[in-house]
């Protein structure tokens, strides 16, 4: 086991050995979900606080289940709106929570860098559950676990990430994690949604969907947020989904063993047609299952040990 970190803040920080530790641990923990009594005493007496400043039922629930199956006490603290609205700064809220001695704080916030700031100032472990457009490490880890499970390995695979890469923390975490594990990454989307200097991240950039997905082992579809339209990045949802959405006929260009993935929630009819979302290539639900296992592994590695 090479895991020695106090916090999990980004995929960019992690080395291949550490990623493998998380994936192997998560795999071993998957069996707990199949039991009648889904509980192990491993984190008994540990307190996990979910500090979610952005509303997110899925990720928060996933962390909650993960913590509870490990017998931890999980507290949900939902603060919607910016800290300025609430009048109490993020740091103040976190210090108040720390005064109640949690072992792990899982934080999701709309500001890039917020979890890093908390990690510097809190004694307990901090897990980044998504910060602005920066990173969402547990999502990338569950994506890697799913790919490894289905393909048997990671190195040498071709993954294409399609959609609003510019505003996506999932894309950034996936890019960093996949590159570390030896995957060749291509990003594809309209130029307005590909971030500046993207090639310098070590990925190929394509502006044509068919060519980008032709040889892909895995296609990761990103969610298009409706705000992009009003902000002038794309002319209309209709055009976006016609050109960039995955429908059954676009899949004709793909490998027969391709995997379709999506971090959820899916905008049916926009980035994925319902047939594809529910079709035989889709492993979206496996991602969700693996999400709980990965989060159990992360909580185990961070909360169980004395930490850094």
């Amino acid at each position: 086991m090479t895991w020695k970190r106090k916090d999990l803040l980004s995929m960019q920080d992690l080395e291949a050995g550490e990623i493998r530790d998380v994936l192997d641990t998560a795999e071993s923990m998957k069996e707990i979900a199949t039991r009648e009594i889904k509980k192990v005493p491993t984190l008994r007496g540990k307190t996990v606080v979910n500090l979610f400043y952005e509303s997110s039922t899925r990720t928060r629930t996933s962390f909650e289940i993960a913590g509870k199956w490990l017998s931890a006490d999980v507290i949900n603290f939902s603060a919607s709106g910016s800290s300025a609205e609430k009048g109490e700064s993020l740091l103040d809220t976190a210090k108040n929570i720390e005064a109640m001695s949690p072992d792990v704080v899982v934080v999701r916030h709309k500001a890039s860098g917020a979890p890093a700031m908390l990690a510097r100032n809190l004694r307990c472990a901090v897990v980044n559950a998504g910060d602005g457009a920066h990173e969402h490490p547990t999502q990338a880890l569950l994506d890697l676990l799913t790919i490894r499970e289905k393909k048997g390995h990671l190195e040498g695979l071709n993954v294409t990430i399609v959609g609003d890469v510019a505003h996506s923390r999932v894309a950034r975490s996936d890019i960093h994690g996949m590159k570390t594990m030896g995957i060749t990454v291509t990003v594809a989307g309209p130029p307005t949604l590909i971030p500046a200097a993207c090639q310098e991240l070590g990925v190929k950039v394509s502006h044509r969907l068919e060519e980008a997905i032709a040889h892909a082992d895995v296609i990761m579809m990103l969610r298009l947020q409706h705000e992009r339209m009003t902000a002038g990045f794309i002319p209309s949802l209709r055009e976006y989904s016609r050109v960039w959405g995955l429908s059954p006929d676009k899949l004709k260009h793909c490998r027969s063993d391709v995997l379709i993935m999506h971090p959820g929630p899916v905008n049916r009819g926009v980035e994925l047609s319902p047939e594809v979302a529910d079709g035989p290539y889709s492993v979206i639900l496996d991602q969700v299952t693996n999400g709980v296992a990965v989060r159990m592994a992360v909580l185990y590695l961070l909360a169980g040990s004395k930490g850094a």
Partner: protein
């Protein structure tokens, strides 16, 4: 913990080890009155291998099907999590059959403090409700810290705390033997065999990297007669609670 160990004595050779497993297989079947409903659950990693071998022997004895063999990883149930610098590696449990109502025989290579078995019992209970749980160990080396006792023993082996017992198996180590190891002064350049530690160290033997074993005596865990100074030959006196054969209880 990287104390170097060297082999002190071999206590079972290939033949003796095999015979011990054969006897255990007979005892299991005899007590259960047959193969029906028996399930062997080996504690990872070598307990699983021993469990496979015992299951094969049971099949040979009764001339029928092999009893089911499962693999149990007790890492998530350890009582010493959070006390170590790094988290122990989780290996995963594979028990692909229901244990409800069955006669489960836990199999492990070395029984020492009993903490591993305590964890295994908790793990089994979370998986279902067996009718009865029994314990088979290849070696019982004493120094129990919990009231746990084995039902089937390959060999009783009195040891001192500073020694370790290593069960080497063909499938893992290329050879079948059981040896006692003791801490060694390392010669320059001489590679030392890795100590085979029990699944969980007893708190009394846990020590910081590089520090010598703590010499402090803990009153309620060791009797004076077994205390030994470094370098002196180990007393061979056996203690009362290990000599008596395991109680045979029916049903």
């Amino acid at each position: 913990m990287s104390v170097a160990y060297r082999e002190k004595a071999q206590v079972l050779d290939e033949g003796a080890l095999d015979r011990a497993l054969t006897r255990i297989a007979h005892e299991i079947v005899e007590q259960a009155g047959g193969v029906k409903d028996i399930a062997l659950v080996g504690i990872k990693t070598r307990g699983v291998t021993l469990g496979q071998r015992i299951a094969a022997k049971i099949a040979a004895i009764e001339g029928g099907q092999k009893p089911a063999v499962g693999a149990l990883d007790i890492t998530l149930y350890r009582d010493d999590l959070g006390l170590k610098a790094e988290q122990p590696v989780v290996r995963g449990t594979e028990i692909p059959f229901p244990i409800k109502g069955r006669t489960v025989v836990l199999v492990d290579d070395v029984l020492f403090t009993g903490r591993t078995i305590r964890a295994a019992l908790d793990a089994l209970m979370d998986l279902g409700r067996p009718r009865v749980i029994r314990l088979a160990v290849l070696v019982d080396r004493g120094h129990r810290e919990l009231p746990i006792r084995p039902d089937y023993i390959g060999k009783n082996l009195p040891t001192s705390r500073r020694e370790t017992v290593a069960v080497l198996l063909r499938e893992h180590d290329g050879t079948d033997r059981v040896v006692i190891q003791e801490p060694a002064e390392r010669e320059e350049g001489e590679p030392q065999p890795k100590a085979r530690r029990a699944n969980m160290e007893s708190p009394s033997e846990r020590s910081e990297e590089g520090e010598p074993q703590p010499k402090a005596r803990r009153a309620n865990m060791e009797s004076p007669s077994e205390r030994s100074e470094e370098g002196e030959p180990q007393p061979k006196a056996r203690r009362a609670n290990m000599d008596s054969p395991p109680e045979r209880s029916e049903g």
